[in-house]
């Protein structure tokens, strides 16, 4: 009887001999939680529209943000040295925001009124220096019907 009881308790998941494994598992779980929390705090980038960025005023300067807006028609200028671009983005409720980008990877889709997401910092002169520029592909609406010209 006593033997059976002892057998049962050593087979239970919560027997004391399993303690070291719970500790090991707990350590790993804590490590993961720590990495995730630190990671999110350290690397999360706030995503704003142009109006929201401008509404923040001088508090927004020198902080890493992602800003989205549409490319103002005619504002895309390539640097004479060929390695940078200047342009302006705006949304319906904002003033144009001047952006400068000197990285090599100008998206293929850059064009008037394309939605642009620029990641970088606003400097004290009000120009947004971008370290990364993404352009959203103009989605061909899947529901668009064939136009008349598609028929012969």
């Amino acid at each position: 009887m006593a033997l059976a009881a002892q057998h049962d308790s050593t087979r239970s998941l919560f027997a004391s001999r399993n303690l070291k494994f719970f500790v090991a598992g707990g350590v790993i779980a804590l490590a993961v939680a720590y990495l995730v929390t630190m990671g999110l705090q350290g690397t999360t980038v706030y995503f704003l529209t142009v109006s929201e960025l401008q509404a923040k005023g001088p508090a927004a300067q020198n902080q890493l943000y992602r800003v989205s807006g549409n490319l103002v028609p005619g504002s895309l200028i390539k640097d004479s040295s060929g390695l940078g671009i200047h342009f302006q983005i705006a949304d319906t409720a904002s003033n144009p925001l001047p952006v400068v980008y000197r990285g090599g990877q100008v998206p293929d889709v850059m064009g008037d009124n394309i939605e642009i997401v620029a990641e970088g910092k606003l400097d004290t002169q009000g120009t947004f220096t971008a370290t990364n520029v993404l352009a959203k592909c103009p989605s061909r609406l899947e529901d668009a019907a064939p136009e008349e010209r598609d028929y012969q």
Partner: protein
């Protein structure tokens, strides 16, 4: 054509429902006829879905633009193999492809498991689960997102495929990845069958493990191919962006890796029974979630809250699947007791457990980072984005731990390791790793992250080599075979073990490639007039203007460059139907230790006098990642190679005199 496809899908839906009812009722009331009828219905579902898929393929091949889906994704100017690939390029077609491959896989499984045996009691439930999934897909394809929607008047030509998809990558990555996601349904079905039938011993374990390996290698290759495609088409110099779409395809694979390891612990020591069931369920749920995210676009943009029409259906299906699976699990929980205990932290069992915890930790971290923007916006009305820095910071250390474990685990004995055993096993590999790092330091590799990464890889490589060499030597001493033969028969007799080692080496190649390309990437930009050069590393790139070609349907601009005397032509392609979306073809020169990667960013002027703007990268060790992918496939094939079955031979021989029944 459209009507035929639609009828097949609706028929498949009805038969799938029938198969579920017939199989489950049949096995509960012990009616062999009902069970057989359910199985026949399953075969018929495979046939009908195949017919629907073939109908769509034929429609593409003959340019039947009366089908909206064909019109939307192909054009007459496209090459035929790309037209057939367009079949799975859009939402509806890729869902049909997913269902089609699942129906074929399930038919193969039914065929393989046709012989009598203890597993036969599981099969009706397996059929029920697979038919439930296929029935759901047929519901979507038949009534919500049909590839057979017809246009009132057939247009003369189609729109064609998005320019980014005109690449070899398009022909192989989506089919491999979608098949990888669907194939987790099968090991999941065996687990659910085990719970439903109450057969919680080893019947389901061996089958789930084997089919799990198949799913694992297909999904793994799908991910590697995706990285390869992104690398040579998108032109940003990298191969993995920690994009939501990439992450959701990786997570089921990570959980699957944990599963194929811990399932071995159940096979050998009858442990982790409950845990393995939860693992394979999570792998399946993540694969459904992945299919949903990849095909509905919900996570592509932080602001995309408008779910596509299939969204609510997927979420409902996933919720029902989770609730049903957990209900079955808790019902059977009292019977899921381990046969053995964990004896020591220094044991194979503990290594498997820590392996599981690390893989699940990485999966959780990636999952949280991927959905965090949605959560933050929903709860705190704060728009945030979580990018590669988060994922690298979190996944890096955990995956480093996994690599370390890859070296330690296989050398640990079951139950408990003695100190002598530890010394004997690890002395050489550790020494080898230290020596290797010293050599690398002399060659200039001193970055702490690279030292740690390469050091771990060298250590694990040392353990694998030690295993092969010691094994071959032991065989040679025991059987007298020469060393080569000894090695061959060693592998042949222990395919799971040594095939597994080969797969581990494949992971080392991928890991080393990732470390090398992250730490030692070099880049520069330049705008060059004809005759001017830019130098990066050992390469001098000289510009010679551009060459423009108008091909059918596409305008191609080559940057004409010479690199150390040899020709290199990065390209930009502009398709007539997509004037706003140029696509980039990277100029790539690969050598075993590094890639020279040149992108034509822009140009000014025309012909041989044009100025070209280039983005130039040197990416070390990236080709090791692709080599690792190939080795991954080879190693898995070795582990799964069927064992030689003794041949049976008919022998006639006279019975001896005096034997019973012999009179003369």
């Amino acid at each position: 054509m459209a009507a035929l496809g639609q009828i097949c899908i609706v028929g498949a839906f009805a038969l799938a429902l029938y198969a579920i009812v017939s199989s489950v009722v049949g096995v509960r009331v012990r009616s062999g006829e009902l069970v057989a009828s359910g199985q026949n219905a399953a075969w018929a579902v495979t046939g009908l879905i195949t017919a629907a898929a073939v109908t769509l393929l034929v429609a593409f091949a003959v340019h039947d633009f009366s089908l909206r889906y064909v019109w939307d994704h192909s054009s007459r100017a496209m090459p035929m193999d790309l037209i057939l690939a367009a079949f799975y390029s859009g939402q509806q077609g890729s869902l049909l492809y997913w269902a089609w491959t699942l129906s074929i896989f399930s038919a193969v499984v039914l065929w393989q498991q046709r012989r009598p045996g203890p597993h036969r009691v599981l099969m009706p439930y397996v059929i029920a689960v697979v038919m439930a999934v296929l029935g759901f897909m047929a519901l979507l394809l038949g009534f919500v997102a049909s590839p057979f929607e017809a246009l009132p008047r057939p247009p003369a030509d189609g729109v064609g495929l998005n320019p980014l998809l005109y690449d070899e990558g398009m022909r192989i990555h989506p089919p491999m990845l979608l098949a990888g996601l669907m194939s987790w349904t099968i090991p999941f079905a065996f687990a659910i069958a085990a719970l439903a039938a109450g057969r919680l011993g080893n019947e389901w374990v061996a089958l789930s493990r084997r089919y799990g390996m198949v799913a694992w290698v297909i999904l793994g290759l799908g991910n590697v191919l995706g990285a390869w495609w992104a690398y040579h088409v998108l032109g940003w110099g990298g191969y993995w962006g920690w994009d939501p779409v990439e992450n959701v395809a990786l997570m089921p694979w990570l959980v699957g890796t944990a599963f194929i390891h811990s399932i071995q612990m159940q096979e050998r020591r009858g442990m982790l029974k409950a845990w393995n069931l939860i693992l394979i369920m999570v792998a399946f749920f993540l694969s459904i979630f992945g299919t949903f995210v990849v095909r509905s676009g919900i996570l592509a943009s932080v602001h995309a809250f408008a779910l596509s029409a299939i969204g609510p259906y997927f979420l409902t299906f996933l919720t029902l699947a989770i609730v049903g699976s957990l209900a079955l699990f808790f019902w059977r929980l009292p019977h899921l007791r381990s046969d053995n205990q964990l004896d020591s932290l220094l044991s194979r069992e503990a290594s498997f457990l820590i392996n599981n915890l690390l893989f699940l930790g990485v999966t959780f971290a990636i999952f949280w980072g991927t959905i965090y923007p949605l959560v933050a916006e929903a709860l705190a009305d704060q728009k945030v984005s979580v990018g590669p820095p988060y994922f690298k910071q979190v996944a890096g250390p955990l995956l480093g731990g996994v690599i370390l474990l890859m070296g330690i685990g296989p050398l640990m004995p079951w139950r408990r390791a003695s100190r002598d055993h530890l010394m004997n096993s690890f002395m050489l590999p550790v020494t080898g790793a230290v020596v290797g790092l010293a050599v690398l330091a002399v060659l200039g590799v001193r970055d702490p992250f690279a030292v740690l990464g390469f050091g771990l890889c060298l250590f694990v490589l040392g353990t694998v080599l030690q295993e092969f060499i010691r094994g071959a030597l032991a065989r040679h001493r025991a059987t007298g075979e020469n060393y080569v033969l000894a090695l061959g028969s060693l592998i042949r007799r222990n395919k799971r073990r040594y095939g597994g080692y080969i797969v581990h080496v494949a992971m080392l190649l991928i890991g080393a490639g990732a470390v090398g390309s992250q730490v030692y990437q070099q880049q520069t930009q330049a705008t060059l007039a004809p005759g001017q050069s830019v130098t990066l590393g050992a390469y001098t790139i000289t510009a010679h203007g551009i060459a423009n070609n108008q091909l059918p349907g596409v305008n191609v601009t080559d940057g004409v460059l010479s690199v150390n005397g040899q020709d290199l032509r990065p390209q930009k392609q502009v398709f007539d139907n997509f004037p706003q979306q140029p696509s980039t073809k990277v100029g790539l020169r690969s050598t075993p230790f590094e890639d020279l990667y040149v992108v034509l960013a822009g140009w000014d002027g025309d012909g041989p006098n044009a100025k070209v703007s280039l983005a130039v990268f040197i990416n070390p060790l990236v080709s090791w990642i692709w080599a690792g992918g190939v080795l991954l496939l080879l190693g898995t094939l070795v582990t799964m190679w069927p064992a030689a079955v003794p041949a049976r031979e008919r022998v006639t021989a006279p019975l001896p005199r005096g034997a019973v029944g012999v009179t003369s």
